[in-house]
């Protein structure tokens, strides 16, 4: 199912990448739960996001995102052709904006090419038939509630006999599992984990449900079966609180693994602080790298079908189509890896600047590059206010 939905929003490709995230949770069936949740959630938001995307202003990613999220617009087959055509022209670096691939992008159908490049055209046919019907019926069952994903994830489980498809994974998982693994803590945790994805569930019902095992039939509600552990208070309040605490500590452990240098830290406060600092530093790095990229480029038009390979550091510049094998581009200081931002001297001497003109640029790009360089170097040399968070 996941592979058939590849072309859907392009998220199925990410599904496995994201599966590495929950797999670090020490839960036996967590990965399958997450997979099901992911696959379901990826299908669910279509009616929300597909509405009105096309009417968006043509800023950068707007149409890209919008059409990418939309289920198979009418153009996806031509997109496949477009991509292959682009890949044929890959060895030609000098293609300008008149490149048919790029012109196609500019017409607002960029995402179709994206989607096409993500999967084969035949995949899209498969996923078209495979995903949409189940998706459509799923949304019908959910009643098209306004909360979209939230509510659809809180969909009740009285469909479980008919709906074994992975799009309904979350609710499916809950009903068989309590019966099979009612005792162990892992099942308990998993249910709580699922339950808390649905914030619309009131706490009262959750507490009552631990006394009854028939919670699944209630419409629009999710019941989590929780068993009080030995020696602990069975008060419903403290139980719920314990569940929350456990969940939070679980996730904090996960985060500990993600944030470097936090393995020895115990305690929420310090950990939270580290997390916040790390997120901020990552965001600063993005800003910084975007500034760096804005001065570094002249981006030659990229081919859609075969972008730079991931191990770019090992690539020889001259072997690719970018045509930037000349060392005379700029005395842009190569930054040390790591979080230090250092100084950013941009001294493009006249001689180096002239050497740029020898590159096989399109005249249009060349002019743009000249203009861009002047303004951008001025920008860069400003004090570091750009790197501060804009608050």
């Amino acid at each position: 199912m996941d592979t058939t939905c590849r072309g859907n929003v392009g998220v199925q490709m990410d599904g496995d990448g994201n599966l590495s995230f929950p797999s670090s949770i020490a839960m036996p069936s967590a990965t399958s739960v997450e997979a099901l949740m992911i696959s379901k959630a990826s299908v669910a938001p279509h009616p929300i996001f597909s509405a009105g995307w096309d009417s968006l202003v043509q800023f950068g990613h707007h149409e890209r995102m919008g059409s990418q999220i939309e289920p198979f617009g009418p153009n996806h087959l031509p997109a496949g052709n477009q991509v292959t055509r682009g890949s044929d022209s890959f060895p030609f670096p000098g293609q300008s904006a008149t490149d048919p691939g790029l012109a196609y992008f500019g017409s607002g159908n960029l995402s179709e090419a994206v989607v096409g490049s993500l999967s084969m055209p035949e995949f899209m046919g498969i996923s078209d038939s495979g995903c949409l019907p189940s998706f459509g019926s799923y949304m019908n069952d959910a009643g098209g509630r306004g909360e979209g994903i939230r509510t659809s994830e809180c969909h009740d489980s009285d469909d479980d006999t008919g709906r074994k498809s992975p799009t309904n994974g979350r609710t499916r998982k809950r009903s068989p599992d309590p019966r099979s693994s009612y005792g162990p803590n892992e099942a308990e945790k998993k249910q709580k984990h699922e339950k808390d994805e649905c914030p619309s569930v009131p706490k009262q019902i959750t507490r009552q449900s631990k006394y009854e095992s028939t919670g699944e039939e209630a419409p629009k509600e999710n019941y989590i079966h929780v068993r009080a552990r030995r020696g602990q208070a069975t008060n419903s309040h403290s139980l719920a609180e314990r569940i929350r605490r456990e969940k939070i500590s679980e996730r904090m452990k996960l985060l500990q693994e993600l944030v470097p240098g936090c393995s020895k830290i115990t305690g929420k406060a310090v950990m939270l602080d580290e997390i916040i600092n790390y997120v901020q530093s990552l965001q600063h790095q993005v800003e910084f790298l975007s500034m760096k990229l804005s001065t570094l480029v002249p981006d030659l038009p990229f081919d859609a079908g075969n972008p730079l390979p991931m191990d770019m550091n090992s690539q020889n510049a001259s072997t690719t189509t970018m045509g930037l094998s000349n060392p005379g581009i700029g005395s842009f200081q190569n930054f040390p890896r790591g979080m230090s931002k250092g100084a950013l001297p941009i001294s493009l001497s006249a001689a180096q600047y002239l050497s740029l003109s020898q590159l096989p640029f399109d005249s249009e790009l060349h002019a743009l590059y000249q203009m861009g360089f002047d303004s951008n170097s001025a920008d860069i040399l400003k004090p570091r206010e750009h790197l501060k968070p804009e608050q």
Binding site: F49, G60, R64, I149, I275, V279, D299, F302, M312, E390
Partner: protein
């Protein structure tokens, strides 16, 4: 379920395309004035990452929402522009109340203050409970790491050897 593409290459693909679009000057902003180039690249980075992730994560939905609204300046980080709890989410105060455990004598560093800060940092973090926020943060961090890695690789690729 092998994943030959992965988040990294999806992001790289989308981001590279957007970079080429930006560089060929065909990006028009929804705002009256033109964005400086580094700003549009930064927004393109977040947007590409959100596109690569799709809509299954709350933070990516939030980023896409912000960009859709054309709030280009805020699209990268802040949530303050948008109404909190726009989709009728449960109040985060509920979770905070329960989390004020007695064991946290750390009133000085203010765990609640840090939570607020984290909510502001992670897009879409305003309207969810804390443990949900932590999960979103974890995914967000992972995606930010790949984003930074790809951007750094691109930048290194373009710097003269």
């Amino acid at each position: 379920m092998t994943n030959p593409g992965g988040l990294r290459s999806s992001f790289a693909r989308i981001f590279l395309r957007s970079l080429s679009r930006i560089n060929s000057g065909r990006v028009s902003s929804s705002r009256g004035r033109t964005l400086p180039k580094h700003r549009s690249i930064s927004i393109a980075a977040y947007a590409s990452m959100a596109s690569a992730v799709g809509t299954r994560r709350a933070w990516s939905r939030e980023v896409l929402r912000r960009i859709r609204r054309g709030g280009a300046r805020r699209a990268s980080r802040r949530t303050s522009e948008f109404p909190v709890g726009r989709k009728g989410r449960k109040e985060p105060g509920n979770g905070k109340k329960l989390k004020k455990e007695a064991g946290d004598g750390n009133e000085g560093s203010s765990i609640q203050g840090m939570r607020k800060k984290l909510r502001r940092l992670v897009p879409g973090g305003e309207g969810m409970e804390f443990h949900r926020l932590l999960a979103e943060t974890a995914h967000y961090i992972k995606c930010l790491k790949t984003q930074v890695g790809v951007m750094r690789s691109i930048a290194d690729y373009y710097t003269p050897v």
